[in-house]
Every structure is written in C-alpha cells, then in structure tokens.
C-alpha cells in the first residue's frame, strides 16, 4: 500500500481509520495475532521490530524498484531505485540535504513561521493545520526550489491530489485518473523550471540537479524531473502530519507543553520521542523479490507488495524495553520514523529542522493554548496519519 492509494471498501476504510486514530493499541493487537497484517490479497504489512529492521536493511529481499507511486508512470528518484545506482544518486543528493545546508536554510523557515504566526497571533485563535502545518512545509519547498511564494496555492492542490486523491475526488476511479493527470501537470511544470535553470543557474535545488554529474555525466532531463517529483511527493504532507501529531499530543499532555515553554532546547528530545511514539509516516513500501520466510514460518510470496510497518516496530517492546510507553524527556530510544537502511529519508535533516523551528517558535510566542471549546481532534484514515483541523485558542492582550 502506498500513500497515494485509494480505498475502495468500507471495511478497509474502518481499518485505516482505526490504524490512524489508535495506532499503539491497533498494532499491539495485530502483533499479538501474527507477524504480518494482510492488507489485500497481494499486500502485507510487516509488524514486528525484528522483521522491520531486517526489511529496511535488506533491499535485495525487499526491493524499491517499481513505478506507479502517486500517479508517476516512471520510478521516482531516489525512492524507487535500488543499489548500486541508488548509492550514486544518494551521494549526489545527501550533501544538499545535510545538516549544514539545512542550518543555512533555517533562517528562511524561521521567517516563514513568524510570518504565519503574525497573521493570527493577535486574534487569539487559528486552525493550526490550515494556518501552520500545511503552509509551512510548502513555503520551505518553494524556498528550496527557488520558486515564488505566490505558487503556494498550486502546490497545496498538487500535493493533496498526489497524496490523498480522494480528499479532492471521492470516487476511486476518477481519483486515480485525476492523480495521473496531475502527475503529468507537475512534470510539465518542473520541465519549464528545469529549462530555465539550465540557461540561468541560481543557488537552488533545480539548478543543482541540472548541473550535477554522476560518473562525469549530467543527469538526464528525466532524472532531474523524477527527483523533483520525489521532493514534492515526500516533503510536504510528511511534515504537515508530523506537526499535527506533535501538537495533538501537546494538547493532551499539558506537562509536555509546560516543559517546552520553560526549557528552550527540550523540543529536540520531545520531537524525537514523538516521531517514534506517533510515527506520522506509518509504513514504507517495498516488493518481495523472492519467497521470503519469516522466523515464525510466515511466507511472503515473491512479488508481494510489502508495507514495512515502522509505526508498529517503533512501539514494539520486543527487543527494546520501554518502547511501549512515551517519555518526552528521554532522547535515547532508537526509532525508524525516517525509515532506515539505504533508503533512510533523504529529507530527515530538513524535516527535523522544520519541526524544531515551528515547535520552538510557537511556544516562544504562544505559550498557553488549548483546543477550541467544542472542537474535537478527528484523525484522518491515512498511512500519513494526522488531524485535518486543529482549532486552537489562546489568551490575547484583550482577554488576558
């Protein structure tokens, strides 16, 4: 199952909701029942820590080499490429997303965060999802790509259709058609930017890609476009839902909120623990390259779509005592929130920088906030688990 997949039955929809709304309970029950969850006849999710660790590491058993993700006809780069070619792409791309680069981008993210907060801080209320969690990663993306901020609305529409097509078009068949058409539209848009940067290089990601070389050869147009498509598909909703997960937790744990306010810097460990505990990106997709037998005798037939259940493994206490409880002060439990093995999330340093910037800036400026009276947190039914609306209120000068 992939994030852009459509849901066609009521039973599948109910399970998807339960998995998003109550993931710890859901996965504990599933792990008690067996080592895999059958999502559909040709699609299983690995649940146990031991199997997830193995699958992330062993691309020769669990391949990423397939197309069709989020409407893209071609494999996107580097997500759907296996070693050894994958290693070459990552050597090229890793430095661009290294922490030193992200530190240089941080002031722009800080500015965007402050601008977003400026727009509503005095009114004493906002929808955290619509007014921070969605626009912040989009504005970061535009900065990275050297695109003007007024393209933000297009970007939000594109990513909605790519990741959750049924949020725009409820009918499953029409949703897939819309998704494919939108993928073509996005490729076309990036092609225009790519041609411009070939002629007029600037200090942005598209220029970097158009001028980069692997083994003395420039990337082809197709390679550049498929890399841009990955950034768009992987860099927006992932950060949005992570922010939603973190703030949902804070709304229900006042001690954690107070810690953030009182102790600048405590957001680092809190975010790490909540990325593990909440695991906003619940699974990553692979395909079994041969018949694989797990140690409990379960056989995954060659060609099966395999969802690596990182949300389940992250809270599986078998092999890591304490993993089935949350403690926002500790910063010492390893986790796979960004996957692992050769496909470890390329943007993990970018995501961490964005999350830390928003969490710190918000609590410096709006330390006391709560869910609006009468509002409820309603979880989506996605493997990118989040809360579409988070109406918050806080005291202002007039009300304090």
């Amino acid at each position: 199952m992939t994030y852009g997949a459509v849901v066609t039955s009521e039973e599948a929809a109910r399970i998807a909701y339960e998995r998003s709304a109550c993931p710890r309970e859901f996965f504990a029950q599933r792990r008690a029942d067996g080592s895999v969850e059958q999502l559909s006849p040709n699609d299983v999710m690995l649940l146990r820590r031991v199997d997830v660790e193995h699958a992330l590491k062993h691309w020769e058993d669990y391949s990423s080499d397939f197309a069709g993700i989020m409407g893209s006809e071609e494999p996107i780069i580097p997500l759907n490429v296996d070693p050894p070619l994958h290693v070459k792409y990552r050597r090229l791309l890793d430095p661009y997303f290294a922490p030193k680069k992200m530190a240089a981008l941080q002031p722009a993210v800080q500015r965007h965060t402050n601008d977003l907060i400026d727009a509503f801080v005095d009114q004493g209320h906002c929808d955290f999802s619509a007014e921070i969690a969605v626009p912040l990663p989009c504005s970061t993306f535009l900065s990275l790509f050297g695109l003007p901020l007024d393209e933000l609305d297009d970007l939000v529409r594109w990513k909605d259709i790519m990741i959750r097509p049924q949020s725009v078009e409820p009918d499953a068949e029409k949703a897939l058609a819309l998704q494919a058409a939108t993928a073509k539209e996005i490729y076309g848009r990036f092609a225009v930017e790519m041609a411009d940067r070939r002629a007029n290089p600037r200090d942005d990601l598209i220029s970097h890609l158009t001028h980069a070389e692997i083994d003395g050869e420039h990337l082809t147009d197709s390679e550049v476009l498929r890399t841009c498509f990955l950034m768009l598909s992987a860099g927006l909703d992932t950060v949005t839902v992570s922010l939603q997960c973190i703030f949902s937790y804070l709304l229900e744990h006042d001690d954690a909120r107070r810690m953030l306010v009182a102790e600048p810097g405590s957001e680092v460990n809190l975010i790490e623990e909540l990325l593990r505990w909440e695991t906003p990106v619940q699974a990553v997709a692979r395909r079994a390259t041969h018949d694989i037998e797990l140690d409990d005798g379960t056989v995954i037939p060659a060609g099966t779509q395999v969802s690596i259940g990182i949300a389940s493994a992250n809270v599986d206490p078998d092999g890591l005592p304490g993993a089935d409880t949350a403690d926002v002060r500790r910063g010492d439990l390893r986790n796979y929130a960004f996957g692992g093995g050769p496909h470890r999330c390329l943007g993990s340093n970018l995501a961490r920088m964005e999350l830390r910037t928003v969490v710190r800036t918000w609590h410096d400026r709006i330390p006391e906030y709560s869910l609006a009276p009468g509002a409820e947190m309603v979880w989506n039914s996605s493997l990118l688990r989040g809360v579409d609306h988070l109406p918050l209120v806080w005291p202002t000068e007039g009300t304090r």
């Binding site: 430095p95 290294a98 922490p99 790490e272 910063g331 439990l333 390893r334 960004f338 093995g341």
Partner: protein, 65 residues
Amino acid sequence: MRIRIDEERCEGHGRCWETAPDLVEDDDRGRGVVRDPDAPVAPEHEAQARQAANVCPERAVILDP
C-alpha cells in the same frame, strides 16, 4: 571505553553527532565521524557515548570496552 562508527552500517541518520557532540562530528553528507578515533572516551563523555549508541537506528555506533 572507545567509540567507533561502522561505516558499512551507517546510513546517515545524524543522531550520533547530535547526541554526542564532544565525540562525533558530521561530514558533508551528515554522517558521523569520530573526532579522535585513537583516544579513549573521557569519563565525563561516557554518557554521551552510550546515548549515541542507543539512538542509532542502524546500530552503527560501536562501543569497545
């Protein structure tokens, strides 16, 4: 105690140099590099070393007695 990083296992999660900044620094890809591989870990930095070994998702941070 000595600390080292198994380069075969390392995938660049970047947790080691964040949790053990006195012992590990990041390279241009964000991977951890032990600052002084020949020196034993100073007693005041042993807690850092243990945390770095615990947080590494790939278990690439190795502590030798």
